[in-house]
Symmetry: C2
Subunit: 336 residues, 2 copies
DNA sequence: TTGACAAATGATAGCGCTAACATTACTACT
DNA sequence: AGTAGTAATGTTAGCGCTATCATTTGTCAA
């Protein structure tokens, strides 16, 4: 690779005996080049191992094949599942991904957005609908399609794929109440906007049933872990020992609650009902299996990219708002 | 953004009253520009909201700020922890990340490598040391620094940050034997090269103690999940019901084994010892807590990027081979 | 056969930046 | 004051590709 000269368009052109622009056309819009020439060009490309220079193309055409993706965390299970869907969605397309980690900061998000826009991204995927004012303005006037993912509770800028976190929280809470639990609690970590909507749903629904007590709410801004779930459950029992059910922020928290309950010999589901969120794969096989709300994370990523690519191609989807739904999975941890 | 003309270097230059190249220098190597001019330039950049065009820079300098990262999976916990380290490592550096998902295929890996090399990546991070012959050749003659991560068992191409999976497997197996287990089993999914090295260590170590029985090995090429752990454990008990300990491929499998054992009322650690691998956060708080081998995944990513950036800067680290070690965490699941 | 028109190909310029060399401004010393 | 030497800035050209417009070739009807 050291004394290796880069193979360029004109190398291919010379080899075939045509001009560089014809090679460019053969690669970009093959239908504009005669079949004979086209095939000779493809053969030469293969032969020489020509790989187009993305930077040169971007500069010349002032377009890129880069889709910018803004997510708040690279480690969180939720987003890695969404990412997997996104990666699957761009497979066998000419698009590349550029990931931006906002770390749950609207300011980082705004800054990354500026970078992506200045680099003429072909499209953008952003998480949630709670951007800063400036960021929303940037998105609204972005020269490329934008998909917001994760939630449908707010008004989207362009397209959106998600589900209603409020409705999901409501469904979970109603389930706990329907199972006969009288004193439900909420445990939440990393109270991001979506978690907050779920909490609001919990509070509203419990209130309506006369079962809401602010003492039965344990939250923290720290990122959620199984350990933290156990600790918050401990805190909760200290202030509200009569708690008989917990709606957890997510499944990590729920697992922590389960382990801590087992440690304290609190019987699940008799003395304690547990409901998680996201339905991680292990929830179904835990002992006992844990009730959770399944969120179609992989599909969300896939759909988002599919819509984006369609829109980049010039045919924006008829329905720019996709509610991908959720599903309450009733399991033994809530007496099912 | 629609009828918005891109702000370029010469816009800034005109504003300040210098030539474009001076602005370029002020941004690239500030020490070559007088303080007075430099500050005026910075002010103008801020003022106009100038953002350099990465494509133009790449084309002109035939260098990029893109570090290519090749990992076999975007969802696996192990790699998402490594990724987190990598992301942390490039924070506040001028570098961007481009992720390539090889999906455990050496062919995909080779292809992605070609793309990254043709796009003049500033540096490369690749997973493992088991590339295809062609890929190894590409890496060996790559015009940029390369860091291999995850394992130190093989000869690296350039730099490497990892640990010995063989030694880790040995330590785990010796621990099971030392705890008095006589009939240890191995359960593994997604038998990638690193898992295979751990298995080889298990087999060698058990053999040496006269405790190896091929009937007590359950593996599958499918990706590991908690559910799969439970199933493989069931299979294992069907063929080797006298198994008294399990060394698991990873913690997901170990959790599955634990839940399945609980379901079958097999007491842990009395009738069954369980040892996992990776030490996911929840292992310490599971009930019972599960013995595992802690692997410094975050640190591995961080160190890898730090070394790479040093090398890109022209000062390759003195020791290009970093064994970052591992740690056996003895917990109740093996009677500790 | 010729003209009209479409299809196929080519020539030219320029995207925004930096490498390489050229020039000018400044400093220090004889 | 003059000169060498360095620091600061400028000029020119070109990275590899594509947009735009120009030209050539091919096709078909009259």
């Amino acid at each position: 690779m050291s004394d290796y000269r880069k193979i360029t368009l004109s190398d291919v052109a010379t080899r075939v005996g045509v001009s560089a622009i014809t090679v460019s056309r053969a690669l970009r819009s093959p239908e504009k080049v005669s079949v004979v020439v086209r095939e000779k060009i493809f053969a030469a490309v293969e032969d020489l191992g020509y790989v187009p220079d993305a930077a040169a193309r971007a500069l010349a055409s002032s377009r890129t094949n880069v889709i910018g993706v803004l997510i708040p965390s690279v480690t969180n299970n939720v987003f890695s599942d969404v990412l997997k869907g996104i990666y699957t969605g761009i497979e066998n397309t000419p698009f590349d991904l550029q990931l931006g980690n906002t770390r749950y900061s609207v300011l980082s998000e705004e800054q990354l957005l500026r970078v992506f826009l200045s680099q003429r991204s072909a499209g953008l995927v952003v998480t949630g609908t709670d951007q800063s004012g400036a960021a929303r303005a940037l998105l609204a006037s972005a020269p490329c399609p934008v998909v917001q993912i994760m939630e449908t509770d707010n008004e989207p800028v362009d397209m959106v794929v998600g589900f209603s976190h409020y409705q999901a929280g409501q469904a979970a809470t109603e389930h706990l109440l329907a199972q006969g639990y009288k004193k439900p609690a909420f445990i939440g970590a990393r109270m991001d906007p979506r978690t907050q909507r779920r909490f609001r749903a919990f509070a509203d629904t419990a209130k309506k049933a006369g079962a809401f007590d602010p003492a039965r709410v344990a939250t923290t801004p720290a990122p959620s872990t199984v350990t933290l779930g156990g600790q918050l459950f401990g805190d909760l029992l200290a202030t509200a020992p009569d708690t008989d059910a917990v709606f957890c922020n997510n499944d990590d928290i729920a697992l922590g609650v389960m382990f801590e309950a087992q440690r304290r010999r609190i019987s699940i589901p008799e003395s304690l009902g547990i409901c998680g969120f996201n339905d991680l794969e292990m929830m179904a096989v835990a002992e006992p299996p844990i009730t959770s709300v399944r969120t179609p994370r992989f599909e969300m990523g896939q759909r988002a990219i599919a819509m984006l690519i369609e829109a980049i191609g010039g045919t924006p989807p008829a329905r720019p708002l996709v509610d991908i739904g959720f599903q309450l999975l009733r399991r033994r941890s809530t007496g099912c």
